[in-house]
């Protein structure tokens, strides 16, 4: 059964230059305990999607429409109070910037305690004990000392561990990780990913992983959704997507990943890039959103937007020319 069902999510912002359709009609679901990756380049609406799920978009200037059903309840219909009871408790979030996501003037312990005291009704002493337990769990040495320290006394990797401790303190059913490793060293990235996977198994949480790092996707995701210009353009199980990407945009993304050691084995080629830029989302888009940057685009693409079609087993893509069943170039 789906834990989260998002239907026709539209998040628009009123700006001086017109309405910015940051997310425009995206539908997807996440099963219990599943890891879904949302990928796409900067500005494609990944982060806005994740913020919309938590209703963290300031309204106005933002406006969220559609339906976000979490465990059967439409989050968009809840009162602010009901929504607060879900944030940090049933659904929690890890952000990209560990250096700035923790409050610099409150102790680490206090910041973990808070969620426990709000959602689980623990008293200060019990919350403190649980906070130390959480720090141990996320692999922070000397948790009893660290709990009394401030964020500036911790390294970036440590701070992201603290963020994970906060996010998982109340055993959420869904964890949204918005580029959790982007700001970290490569070695720390691997540690944090492993930690997230371990904890996911322990807690049984589903994860939505927002990233532009396809290496990370291959590592931990089960299913992948590709977004472009505020829309979903392709979705498939991770192995299927890497083996036979159908949408030209996805193919471009995969082609843009450098292959380690290729210059040594003599297979080096010039790194592929996707020409052009993401279209201006404040202007109405006629036809396929990717047509302006696509090598295969024809008049058909420029006039009629392709719908999401089944292109393979559990594999959908929005492209007029993506071959069904066949392996694309």
């Amino acid at each position: 059964m789906a834990l989260l069902e998002v239907e026709n999510l539209q998040t628009h912002f009123r700006t001086p230059g017109g309405i910015n359709r940051a997310v425009d009609g995206v539908s997807f679901h996440v099963n219990e305990g599943e890891t879904l990756a949302i990928v796409g380049e900067s500005g494609c609406g990944k982060s806005v999607t994740s913020m919309s799920l938590m209703r963290l978009i300031p309204e106005p200037p933002g406006r969220i429409a559609g339906a976000i059903r979490f465990a059967g309840r439409d989050l968009l219909q809840l009162s602010d109070r009901e929504m607060r009871a879900i944030r940090g408790n049933d659904i929690s979030m890890i952000f990209q910037e560990p250096m700035t996501s923790l409050n610099p003037v409150l102790t680490v312990g206090r910041q973990i305690r808070e969620t426990l005291m709000i959602h689980q009704g623990l008293d200060k002493a019990a919350a403190e004990a649980h906070a130390i337990e959480m720090l141990t769990l996320v692999g922070i040495p000397e948790p009893k000392r660290r709990v009394r320290e401030y964020p500036h006394q911790l390294s970036g990797g440590m701070r992201q561990r603290v963020m994970i401790a906060i996010a998982l303190a109340c055993n959420p059913k869904l964890l949204i990780a918005d580029e959790p490793t982007t700001a970290l060293d490569v070695t720390i990235q691997a540690q944090i990913l492993k930690l997230m996977l371990d904890l996911k198994r322990r807690v049984g949480a589903a994860i939505i992983l927002i990233t532009h790092d396809l290496g990370v996707v291959a590592e931990i995701a089960e299913r992948v959704m590709v977004m472009y210009a505020g829309r979903k353009v392709e979705e498939a199980p991770v192995a299927e997507l890497f083996r036979s990407p159908r949408h030209p945009y996805t193919q471009g993304l995969l082609g843009a990943v450098p292959k380690l050691g290729s210059s040594l084995t003599g297979t080096a080629t010039r790194l592929a890039e996707i020409p052009g830029q993401v279209p201006d989302l404040r202007k109405p888009i006629i036809g396929c959103v990717f047509a302006g940057r696509c090598a295969l685009a024809t008049d058909l693409c420029r006039q009629y937007a392709p719908g999401l079609e089944e292109k393979g087993p559990r594999h959908i893509a929005a492209c007029h020319y993506a071959a069904k069943g066949a392996v694309a170039a």
């Binding site: 938590m54 963290l56 607060r84 009871a85 879900i86 944030r87 940090g88 408790n89 929690s92 979030m93 952000f95 910037e97 700035t100 996501s101 923790l102 409050n103 610099p104 003037v105 409150l106 808070e114 969620t115 709000i118 959602h119 401030y150 500036h152 963020m163 906060i166």
Partner: protein, 313 residues
């Protein structure tokens, strides 16, 4: 921490020395000969000369300064030319009302201005925000004496809720003491409240954009907890700074306020002393105010370390 405070106190000594030099020079910079003033209209040149000698005004500047500092260090601020009373005793008599007025104004400002600024930042751009900021401009533009007379007219003369003027010491009871201070505190606090509210709003607006506020919301915190704990503590450094700087405003404003509300405090003493060219009294008061200001700045630096753990000395 303790060693830092001690070092800071030592560092204030040169500041106080320079202040003392300026204060002492007043006697020479200001027009008019104090000996002539004290002697009065009927005095002969011999009388003036005698007074000049008895006050030591005929000795070299540095010698006069040295002996003046020496006496101050022993707690002797000199004797009033006009009343012949020790300056320290005169100041001591007037300290209570002024201190009371300043403390009540300070508390009133913090209690009113900070929440106003926080709400304005939270509701930035809304009608509430514009109303609060409009009030701030209003409060900023009105001179203390205008506000003072308006308040006295409305609340004391017309409505008769509060006394028109005067002062009752705290020893006579809390309410009689406070009753006399409410209107002066509002009059004196107007500019100060406007200033602190504006700075609080600006500091909060900046803080509310930060990533950790988003984190706090993602944790399910209520609006009150986000604003007054997560955000305000981060915005505290500029707010505390302005509250401290504002004490200088209060000192200046107290002089006018005390005149309007007939409060027998240091402000009134200052005016009287200036009008009579009573230099020892003027010097004593200016020295005291400077000392208080230096002390307040030291306190602000200590408060910084309490609100922001990243500040360590």
């Amino acid at each position: 921490m303790l060693s830092y405070i001690l070092r800071r106190i030592v560092a204030t000594l040169p500041v106080m020395a320079i202040v003392a030099l300026f204060v002492f020079s007043l006697l020479y910079i200001a027009p008019g000969d104090p000996a002539v003033v004290i002697a009065g209209d009927q005095a002969s040149p011999e009388d003036v000369e005698r007074i000049r000698q008895s006050l030591g005004l005929d000795r070299p500047f540095l010698i006069q300064f040295g002996s003046w500092v020496w006496r101050i260090l022993h707690g002797d601020l000199g004797t009033s030319i006009f009343t012949n009373l020790p300056v320290s005793a005169m100041i001591g008599q007037r300290l209570g009302p002024t201190l009371s007025l300043m403390i009540v104004t300070l508390l009133l400002t913090i209690v009113v201005a900070v929440p106003l600024g926080v709400v304005a930042a939270w509701k930035a751009g809304s009608l509430i925000d514009r109303a609060i900021m409009g009030f701030a401009v209003f409060g900023f533009s009105l001179p203390v004496f205008v506000v003072g007379y308006m308040l006295a007219y409305i609340f004391a003369l017309e409505l008769e809720w509060l006394p028109v003027q005067g002062y009752t010491p705290l020893t006579a009871g809390f309410w009689p003491w406070l009753e006399n201070l409410i209107l002066p505190a509002i009059a004196l606090g107007c500019v100060y409240i406007a200033l602190v509210a504006r700075i609080t709003r600006a500091a909060m607006l900046e803080v509310l954009q930060q990533d950790y506020i988003r984190t706090a919301r993602a944790k399910g915190l209520g609006q009150g907890g986000i604003l007054f704990i997560h955000a305000l503590k981060n915005a505290a450094v500029p707010i505390v700074t302005v509250i401290g700087i504002g004490i200088a405003l209060l000192i200046g404003g107290a002089v006018v306020t005390e005149s309007v509300f007939a409060i027998p405090g240091l402000g009134r003493l200052t005016i009287d002393a200036i009008l009579r060219r009573d230099y020892p009294v003027i010097q004593g008061i200016v020295l005291l105010f400077s000392f208080v200001y230096v002390l307040v700045n030291l306190m602000i630096d200590v408060v910084y370390t309490l609100v922001d753990p990243r500040i360590r000395y």
